[in-house]
Symmetry: C2
């Protein structure tokens, strides 16, 4: 049994991740902290460090967090770009950077990207660009991680549990069950793979 | 004959780009402005807009600019990440964003990424991550550009002209002639392709 911290645990993807981790001890965190064990803001390295210190020993970190702004490229503001980059990209990288000081030997990080970098859609240029950055980051940084620590990304399409919210803006996308995305997180945590982007699409 | 603005014209890749543009009118710009027609700072949208206004009519923009910091992931500082992201990623996106207000119908943008997102190497995680973001950005934003405007990225390996500077940190990489990278920029400018990453590797 591993101890796994799930950041963004109250979101749809976080809940999907937890579905794949039934045999482990899961510790939950989110930006609001509501219904979770801990509150954490991934745009703040001090907040991330405080979470890790509070948990103590852990074997895996799953990030299902990262705020994205949606707008056409021509009207997306500097603030919208920065909010997306500092959360979904820099925030998730900091989850890893700070986590390296705390995670057990042989531990793993699993970050979240999203299928829009592979299947582009209107309004989603910031999501797509940062997803592409996260996929690349994971594939390249894996070679640098010490102590047998692994890193992967899960890159899912929209899940059935979120279809009501996103379906209208995603014509022609086939949602998948959250449980299938949970399998991807489980494989990242419990397999030996590293530097991989695990696509979950229909 | 097209009028083409080359940003980063005094760098090795900028010079390589110009080699492919012999039949066009080339206007040069760089951060220092030394030996170029104009000075421009791509991290400053006001500076980019001033360049475009000064040039007036133009058909293509080539960005061979973007500062990257090099360090191991574990020791790369927040400032190093931000310097790289705000220049190579956000700076180049702003070259496009601001450029859309000025470029001729049917014009083109060509951005620069770099092979380290495909062939990772020590110290280069920030370069690789932002290169992956640029490649993704180009592939996705192409569908949004108005007035027949195209966008591509050139993703080169190290060029022979830069081998003396980078060769020692790149064992096992085969440099290519700058003229071959110039061909890639020429194809982006003079063909009909859009949303493409043009890899130049040996």
């Amino acid at each position: 049994m591993k101890t796994i911290i799930v950041i963004g645990a109250s979101g749809n993807i976080g809940k999907a991740a937890i579905k794949g981790l039934g045999k482990h001890k899961v510790i939950t965190a989110s930006r609001s902290g509501k219904g979770c064990d801990y509150q954490v803001d991934i745009t703040d390295k001090t907040s991330i460090a405080a979470l890790y210190k509070a948990v103590g020993k852990f074997d895996a970190v799953i990030s299902a967090a990262g705020h994205c702004e949606y707008a056409p490229f021509e009207s997306m503001t500097d603030d919208q770009w920065q909010a997306t980059i500092q959360s979904k990209l820099v925030g998730q990288m900091n989850v890893v950077k700070v986590g390296l000081d705390h995670i057990e030997n042989g531990g793993s990080f699993t970050l979240i990207s999203g299928i829009l970098n592979i299947k582009p859609m209107p309004l989603a240029i910031a999501d797509a660009t940062t997803s592409g950055a996260i996929d690349t980051f994971v594939k390249c940084v894996a070679f640098e991680l010490p102590r047998g620590i692994r890193i992967n990304a899960v890159n899912p399409t929209v899940i059935e549990e979120a279809w009501e919210m996103y379906g209208e803006m995603m014509p022609g996308y086939q949602p998948v069950p959250g449980a299938l995305v949970g399998k991807a997180f489980e494989r990242s945590v419990d397999s030996f793979i590293t530097g991989q982007v695990i696509f979950v699409d229909a």
